[in-house]
């Protein structure tokens, strides 16, 4: 049994079946991400683990103990919320000390622990400030300190960075990862941002409409999506009908769809040499979007369209309506049933 074990978890909100027979194991010290679009049930699963929601059926085990029916207080779980949820009537130090006071620790211990944890999250100088005087990033670090100071068995992070701007978010991703490793605390991170999930996680659990679609190492999920949803959600894959693509490249696929990552579609102004390891075809540029260092081209190949991600190179730019030649490595074409 894993450190955290979800067994056949079902959750209904009225008629709405939001978690459908979820079976999931999380090992001690791991940082796992529950990834999926809004409304897929990832936050609900997290709240069930925290004890903020009850499960309709199934069991939750933590460290070998059945915690399904325990109150949040009894579970020894820390949580950081999307909107920080700092107590506005308390200073940073009072917020961090709140849980310790509830545990009736002595004042000296509380004071030492508060200073220690604020030092770790780099907010020692904000000790006496009220939350509304802090930036979003600082508030989130206070929330993290408030959760960590309780030395919980598990740290839950419910989309903690979604209200923070992109630049600061990247810094906080690294910060959270550093602190998680420093404490070696089992952590569950909920996000709908696949890039964030790729950066932060040891393991990703991908959810869709209450179902666990795929679990695995970020690179494995990215390179080997097993479902159409996984391919489109995590990798911006080109999903093509196997028959249409097969007819275009003169091959035959025994599957429903073929998935091709945009970055393995090579482009050239001149025809590629035929190769037994790659498919070659031609098309017309229909549009392009710049993502900074990457340019995403949309190419019309006659019976289907493809997107291709090309690293920015000033000598290799294509204009709209220009004819281009494409090469796709056969090993990069994934079959989806």
């Amino acid at each position: 049994m894993s450190y955290i074990q979800f067994e056949s978890i079902n959750k209904f909100f009225g008629e709405n079946h939001v978690l459908k027979d979820i079976n999931l194991g999380i090992e001690e010290g791991e940082l796992v991400t529950l990834l999926g679009p809004s409304g897929c049930g990832k936050s609900t699963l997290l709240r069930c683990l925290a004890g903020l929601e009850t499960v309709s059926s199934g069991k939750i085990y933590l460290d070998g103990k059945d915690i399904t029916n325990l109150t949040p207080k009894q579970r020894q779980i820390g949580m950081v919320f999307q909107q920080y949820s700092l107590f506005p009537n308390m200073t940073v130090a009072q917020n961090v000390a709140f849980g310790l006071q509830i545990r009736r620790m002595d004042k000296k211990t509380i004071s030492d622990k508060v200073r220690w944890i604020l030092d770790i999250v780099g907010l020692s100088e904000k000790y006496g400030e009220y939350p509304n005087r802090l930036s979003g990033g600082q508030q989130q670090r206070v929330a993290l300190a408030r959760a960590l100071v309780m030395e919980p068995k598990v740290l839950l992070l419910d989309e903690p960075l979604s209200a923070i701007d992109a630049l600061l978010r990247r810094g906080l991703q690294t910060e959270i990862r550093r602190i998680q490793k420093e404490f070696n605390i089992t952590s569950i991170f909920v996000t709908h941002d696949q890039d964030e999930a790729m950066v932060m996680s040891d393991t990703i659990h991908l959810f869709n409409v209450g179902v666990l679609e795929q679990s695995g190492h970020p690179v494995d999920i990215y390179t080997h999506p097993t479902t159409r949803f996984a391919a489109t959600f995590i990798g911006h894959y080109n999903i093509l009908s196997a028959k249409t693509f097969g007819d275009a490249v003169g091959d035959r696929f025994d599957c429903q769809d073929v998935a091709i990552r945009p970055e393995i579609v090579e482009l050239s102004a001149k025809p590629f040499q035929d190769s037994k390891d790659a498919y070659t075809l031609d098309g017309v540029i229909k549009g392009n979007i710049s993502h900074g260092n990457i340019i995403r081209y949309e190419i019309d190949c006659g019976t289907f369209s493809l997107t291709s991600d090309i690293l920015f190179d000033a000598s290799l730019l294509f204009n709209t309506n220009e004819t281009v030649y494409l090469r796709i490595q056969k090993s990069g074409c994934l079959v989806l049933d």
Binding site: L86, P88, R133, S135, G136, L168
Partner: protein, 272 residues
């Protein structure tokens, strides 16, 4: 800086004069002694001295404060508990509470008082007690303002999330309520309390109808003094105005303090 239009300044000045003039005349009048024709010949503090030495006046002011504060506190406690319970345990019930608390808006205070009198005055139980009736009527009258103020404040501080955060940290819902929710809402509660208190303090019609002379409040005292010298009644009005002003200024002070706290500029990300 935006330049103000002279017509606007003139309109505001005239409006200010129109509003403040009656009050000013009343205040000035309360200090006057003898009159010549249209101007006072002398000024005196005699009427204030008489008023302040009259124990009946102070006890009527005290009664007014008491009868204003008790119903407001009772209403606040009930509304807070009802809203807390619905928001945390059963949000679907909130719309029914909202309807129940808004109904008194549609009922005129005099109609309410007459109906209550008709229904309960003959009762030999506590329901027939005039003071009890008065408190109950005031409680109902306060409901709309108290409900709206507390409800908005409750949503503004997002109590559901705060309680969840407190629970995760090991607090029970009761501890979370007293240690987190109530302190966060204290400004909003105070505003509702003071607004209702100011309204009840100025009531004369309902209290006259329900309690008659059994419970003489400041407004009743003023009514009873209608045959006294006009300077004395002016002095009473001035003192009552000052009491109401203190209550109103307290509301403004609480609101401004709250506003300053909530609109304090957050530190920018670059300052981190």
């Amino acid at each position: 800086m935006k330049k103000r239009h002279p017509v606007g300044i003139l309109a505001l000045t005239l409006c200010g004069i129109y509003l403040i003039l009656p009050l000013l005349v009343t205040v000035v009048y309360s200090f006057t002694g003898d009159w010549s024709s249209i101007l006072p010949r002398s000024f005196t503090l005699r009427y204030y001295a008489d008023l302040f030495q009259n124990p009946q006046f102070w006890s009527s002011v005290l009664r007014s404060v008491i009868i204003s504060i008790i119903p407001v506190i009772i209403t606040c406690v009930f509304v807070i508990l009802a809203l807390y319970t619905t928001v945390i345990y059963n949000p679907k019930l909130e719309k029914y509470i909202e309807v129940a608390c808004t109904i008194p808006y549609t009922i005129n205070g005099i109609i309410l008082a007459t109906s209550v009198l008709g229904a309960y005055s003959a009762s030999q139980t506590i329901l027939g007690n005039r003071l009890f009736m008065l408190v109950c009527i005031y409680c109902i009258g306060c409901l709309p303002v108290t409900f709206r103020g507390i409800r908005n404040n409750m949503y503004a501080v997002n109590i559901r999330q705060l309680i969840e955060a407190a629970e995760i940290l090991g607090a029970s819902k009761i501890i979370a309520f007293f240690k987190v929710v109530v302190p966060c809402m204290v400004s909003g509660i105070m505003v509702s309390v003071l607004m209702c208190m100011a309204a009840l303090f100025g009531d004369f019609a309902i209290i006259r109808m329900i309690a008659s002379t059994q419970y003489m409040t400041a407004q009743s005292f003023l009514y009873e003094s209608r045959n006294s010298p006009v300077q004395l009644t002016s002095a009473i009005v001035t003192v009552l105005f000052l009491v109401t002003l203190i209550i109103t200024l307290s509301v403004l002070f609480v609101q401004m303090r709250d506003k300053t706290k909530s609109t304090a500029l957050p530190v920018t990300e670059e300052e981190e």
